[in-house]
């Protein structure tokens, strides 16, 4: 029952966003550290599309068991618990070219870093508030 308190789609989506943003901040730091490394390809983190898909309203899960006649038959339909939305680390689209084939755009990385930090803090605040609603209900307004 207790873990079930945090399994609703919104909580999971916010947690996924925090994971994605934290990963992005790591990748940006790595890009900046390698701004002068020859042949280093800048990396980027993708999770927004997966997040939008995960928080889109999905149809009710099937309650009928699938008939299996072979060991390889799948027994369960894919559910939110078994197929988490992925956070992908990919090569960033290059915005400039250099002789040493390094693709780090320091201006872009700094902008992205500022935006990531701002979004991260706002989502943290959103998580704190939504968990606070649970606490208010549990403590009956701190009576």
């Amino acid at each position: 029952m207790i873990p079930g308190l945090f399994r609703d789609p919104t909580s999971r989506a916010l947690r996924l966003a925090l994971d994605g943003l934290a990963r992005r901040q790591e990748v940006i730091a790595q890009n900046i550290a390698n701004v002068d490394t020859p042949q280093y390809r800048a990396l980027a983190v993708r999770f927004e599309e997966a997040l939008a898909q995960a928080s889109a309203p999905r149809p009710a899960p099937a309650t009928l068991a699938l008939q299996t006649t072979h060991p390889d038959h799948r027994r369960r339909m894919a559910s939110p618990e078994t197929t988490p939305a992925p956070i992908q680390v990919v090569e960033a689209e290059p915005t400039r070219w250099r002789n040493d084939e390094n693709t780090v755009d320091i201006d872009r990385e700094m902008l992205l870093l500022a935006q990531t930090q701002l979004t991260y803090e706002t989502v943290v605040q959103a998580m704190t508030k939504t968990l606070g609603w649970l606490r208010t209900a549990i403590t009956e307004g701190r009576r």
Partner: protein, 106 residues
Amino acid sequence: MEALSPLRGDRLTHPPAVSPAAGSREPGDPARAALSFAQLLREAVQNVDRLQRAAEQQALALASGQPVDVHEVALALEQASLALQLAVQVRNKLVEAYQEIARMQV
């Protein structure tokens, strides 16, 4: 921006008439008044739920990279939190009032 209070504070000073024949002593009056109060409570709870859902949607939209202002998200969250706290406190007062009356010796 909608009124902050789900119970609409102006209703305390300007309560809507519970029935068209307000003040009369018709036999059906208490039943109609009770239905209206229940509706009031139900609306208030639905308002709080609506505010919470709206705030969650804003936060998710921001996290998904959509062009949402940070202050909009912060305000929506705070609004929902205040609405919930107010609803809980009103509920506490109602329960307390009932208990006080239940304690009365006839």
